[in-house]
């Protein structure tokens, strides 16, 4: 234990000190000492023994169980639309039946065609994302070069750019009216190929480039944890590249598999890109066919097998990479540079990949914008949607973090709960978003309070909450797991209940994880489309829906302005969080 002013404190004394700290309300403690909970071990024990203005409260019995029950109820609310959306596949006219599956099987050829298309797009996207993301991750996390922190910040923000904005931006580059099209068409023709951004190749390019930074973050964070001694030993026998090949990359393989699985899952449920670029995948057909027929049962029957398969693959990949997954955010201290020497090659790789996304698309939108006056007029015309989107995203993010934190805490040390959370996460990520929209419509469009919620923007917040709560849980788990059990044990010795330990010990120390979860859910909610487009009440569309609606008419200056507005509203909280975390980091 630490020393203070030459005094050595015994273990029991320290435990009592920590327990005293745990029973004190944070504000009083801060007023009295101006310290964080973990710093109280450094205080003079006598001061802590009898603090003058502190009162000892009786721990609330049952509050911890109540919190766990509330968290489970909230999780059930989040799961309900998706479960309904999937469960309706087994119901025909109020009776349990497999008729929808038989009907779906009757269109087996169509199903096979969709499966083949979806597989090609997903695998192609994952392959491109890995090809670009692995070198980017290694460059950002293991090398030193000028502007590394700036590029790292860009890489963190890039995966959160909403997909409608991404595809709109690339259309302004590569579409019929794109600025690169006149040069690309003859180049393709010279090789005997027909140039058209619409189709499989275009969709793979747009999504692969967009997900590369995500792969980079996952692989890079795993590369940070490769044992240095192994690399140093290997360095004695070979070059840096052989160390990379023999030590670093093999250690990053589980994280790479998890990243590839995540890209596969996100890609399979993606709607905006595949719809605009005319690639028939499960998600796009589910949305279009549901709009055409309103037959939720048949759509769910078509989606269920693919959802379960993908969920299983994703869960398996996450399980393999659990050591990386748990270590995320656990240690943010320490240098991320791999050495003192500057690597211009690493700079070139990082700048090059990030130029692909988000560099070129965003620059193209800015050029398409023309003048700042367009941005001002677009902001004025899009203000109602922007306001709705911001309100919905704030609400969804706040509710998600409030529910995710106790869920993450209850999963700690409980294998059954952890497996349950992992399964829920896998199914939620693998299920097409229109299923959630379908489920919400059927569950809420009824007289009374449910109907009031359905008619208000709250239904949009519920859709985002249902879709992204698992991601908030995933972001909170590593932060919660990183908290030492000793602190809680000491507080428990003095009679602090589960709720007090959670709120007054664990929560203040997990603020980074919770802030990350909030920003993630906020950014994803701003770009959510698949469920929102089905449930948006009249007059309450979001900016993402507006962008998606106008994308089919081509990208003009007004649409470019709206895309930039959406991008700015997503990027702002991400950059604020990065600045705060960076400022808080011990130097």
């Amino acid at each position: 234990m630490r020393q203070h002013a030459g005094q050595l404190t015994s273990g029991a004394q320290n435990a009592r000190i920590l327990a005293n700290a745990a029973t004190v309300r944070p504000s009083r403690r801060l007023r009295a000492f101006g310290r964080r909970p973990d710093e109280l071990v450094c205080m003079n024990p006598s001061e802590l023994e009898h603090p003058p203005d502190l009162d000892r409260r009786r721990p609330r019995a049952g509050a911890g169980r109540l919190a766990a029950a509330l968290a489970c109820a909230v999780a059930a609310i989040a799961l309900a639309p998706l479960l309904w959306g999937l469960g309706v596949a087994f119901v025909v006219d109020g009776h349990v039946s497999l008729a929808h599956f038989r009907e779906a099987l009757a269109g087996a050829e169509q199903f096979r065609g969709l499966l083949w298309n979806t597989t090609r797009v997903s695998v192609g996207t994952a392959a491109l994302a890995v090809m670009l993301g692995v070198p980017l991750g290694l460059a950002l996390f293991r090398c030193q070069f000028p502007l590394r922190r700036v590029l790292l910040a860009v890489a963190v923000a890039a995966p959160l750019v909403p997909m409608p904005v991404v595809v709109g931006a690339w259309l302004s580059v590569l579409g019929i009216q794109g600025w690169a099209t006149p040069a690309l068409k003859p180049a393709f023709a010279a090789f005997g190929m027909h140039y058209d951004v619409h189709g499989l190749a275009g969709a793979v390019w747009v999504m692969g480039a967009a997900y590369a930074p995500l792969v980079a973050l996952v692989v890079g964070s795993a590369a940070l944890r490769v044992p240095r001694c192994l690399e140093d030993d290997a360095r004695l026998d070979g070059s840096r590249f052989s160390v990379l090949r023999r030590v670093t990359l093999p250690h990053c393989l589980p994280a790479l598999m998890a990243a590839a699985a995540l890209v596969l899952a996100l890609n399979t449920v993606e709607l905006a890109v595949t719809d605009v670029l005319r690639v028939r995948t499960f998600s796009e057909v589910l949305y279009a066919d549901f709009q055409l027929t309103g037959d939720a049962g048949r759509m769910a029957a078509m989606a269920l097998p693919a959802t379960l398969l993908l969920a299983a693959a994703f869960a398996a990949a996450l399980a393999c990479a659990r050591s990386w997954w748990r270590g995320l955010l656990a240690s943010s201290e320490g240098s991320t540079a791999g050495g003192a020497r500057r690597s211009w090659l690493a700079f070139g790789v990082a700048a090059g990949v990030l130029a692909l996304h988000p560099g070129v698309p965003v620059a193209s939108l800015v050029v398409k914008l023309g003048s700042p006056a367009t941005l001002v007029s677009a902001a004025a015309s899009a203000w109602p949607e922007l306001r709705t989107g911001l309100g919905v995203s704030v609400l969804a993010a706040t509710l998600a973090v409030a529910a995710a934190f106790p869920l993450a805490a209850s999963a700690r040390g409980r294998r059954v709960v952890a497996v349950g959370v992992l399964t829920w996460l896998a199914v939620s990520l693998a299920a097409p978003a229109p299923l959630v929209g379908m489920g919400l419509t059927r569950l809420l469009n009824r007289p009374g309070l449910l109907g009031w919620i359905y008619d208000s923007p709250a239904v949009l917040a519920l859709a985002c909450f249902a879709r992204f709560l698992p991601i908030a849980v995933l972001a909170c788990i590593p932060a919660v797991n990183a908290i030492s059990r000793d602190l809680e044990a000491a507080a428990e010795l003095d009679g602090a209940g589960a709720w007090q330990r959670l709120v007054e010990i664990v929560a203040p120390l997990c603020w980074r994880g919770m802030a990350t979860a909030w920003v993630l859910v906020f950014a994803l909610s701003m770009g959510e489309l698949g469920a929102s487009v089905l449930v948006a009440p009249p007059g309450k569309a979001t900016l993402a829906i507006r962008v998606f609606t106008f994308l089919h008419y081509g990208v003009d200056d007004a649409l470019a302005a709206i895309c930039l507005l959406l991008l700015a509203s997503v990027a702002a909280p991400v950059l604020v969080l990065l600045c705060v975390v960076s400022w808080q980091r011990p130097r």
Binding site: R278, G294, L395, A402, A458, A461, F548, L551
Partner: protein, 340 residues
């Protein structure tokens, strides 16, 4: 405890963002509109300015043109929240009528609309129409070689050079349903399969079909006059052909916008006021003057000269009720045999 209170406070603070004002403060009317937002929004805003009735509009997405809104109205049948359905075509309005989801309303403003464009029982009224046309690229199609009929697009001359929007949504789906009703199912299927065998390109929408023709990617495209005229007025090398205009037994399919009152909507009186306004000559003139150049049906409103509508243009004789009845089977055929 403070965390819960703080969380709840933030959540409640976010709720009023865009929430509905209590009933009674400002009258509202809910309209589901399939006409492109850029054209319908200013007109609805003018209605609010004039009457003080707030319009809550649900717009269409191009991906599921018209049909998405129809499905929404159907799924809300137990608790309708739409007052007025402003469709950009007619067939799906008739499908809603046959489902019993519309309420009759004979607007005084509809008296000026020709009888052929209004339902005899008042369930729907047409206004501001568009025609199905072929847009040709004048650099790729020599003068005099333009297709005279949509049936020519299945001939070898146009192999791989023609395009159309996905015939599951919007006016293209309606056009296919009308062909099924007019030609009969076997001939219509033969025509569609002929187009497919001739390598017709399927675009996402009428708009993107027009853009592809204007860019020279396609020589000819089946589209609507509102999307075609925009490319003409941009100065692109394109020409509008009113195909089948002089063909015996055939004609140009003219598709009106249609207005219908939804049965059981929350504000039927405000809905009637909105319908009265939309059927006024002022609105038809505005839609004729806007970039989409909709064709006014009220004889008192001048047709936009820019469209170049032939003086003696022959309209396709179509039994609209039969077309509405054929919509589902036509769609099934398209999905199973045409789009595969």
């Amino acid at each position: 405890m403070r965390a819960i209170v703080l969380t709840g406070a933030i959540a409640c603070a976010a709720l009023p963002m865009g929430c509905r004002k209590p009933a009674g403060e400002r009258p509202e009317v809910v309209v589901y509109t399939a006409l492109d937002r850029g054209f319908s929004e200013p007109i609805l805003a003018k209605f609010t300015e004039r009457t003080g009735i707030v319009v809550r509009a649900k717009y269409d997405t191009e991906a599921t043109k018209t049909v998405g809104l129809v499905t929404a109205i159907r799924s809300e049948r137990g608790r309708p929240r739409c007052d007025v359905f402003w469709n950009n075509e007619i067939v799906n309005t008739l499908r809603l009528k046959s489902d019993g989801l519309l309420a009759p309303y004979k607007s005084p403003a509809a008296e000026a609309i020709p009888a052929a464009f209004r339902g005899p029982d008042g369930y729907w009224t047409g206004f501001a129409a568009r025609a199905r046309v072929i847009l040709v690229n004048t650099h790729l199609v020599p003068r005099g070689s333009e297709p005279k009929s949509v049936h020519e697009l299945s001939q070898p001359k146009w192999r791989g050079k023609a395009g159309m929007a996905k015939p599951l949504f919007g006016t293209t789906a309606s056009h296919v349903a009308c062909l099924f009703a007019t030609l009969g199912a076997p001939r219509a299927r033969q025509f569609m399969l002929g187009l497919k065998a001739n390598g017709i390109t399927i675009e996402a929408s009428n708009k993107s079909c027009a853009l592809m023709v204007a860019a020279g990617e396609l020589a000819a495209g089946l589209t609507d006059t509102d999307d075609a005229i925009i490319e003409v007025e941009k100065g692109k090398p394109v020409k509008i052909v009113f195909a089948d205009s002089g063909m015996p037994g055939s004609g140009v399919l003219v598709i009106p916008n249609t207005l219908a009152l939804v049965k059981g909507g929350p504000a039927p009186e405000a809905g009637k006021q909105l319908i009265d306004y939309l059927l006024s000559p002022e609105v038809e003139a505005a839609l004729a003057a806007c970039p989409s150049r909709q064709i006014p049906l009220n004889p008192a409103v001048a047709r936009p000269a820019e469209l170049g509508v032939p003086k003696n243009m022959k309209m396709m004789p179509v039994d609209l009720a039969k077309a509405a009845a054929a919509f589902d089977s036509a769609g099934q055929f398209v999905k199973e045999h045409f789009l595969k």
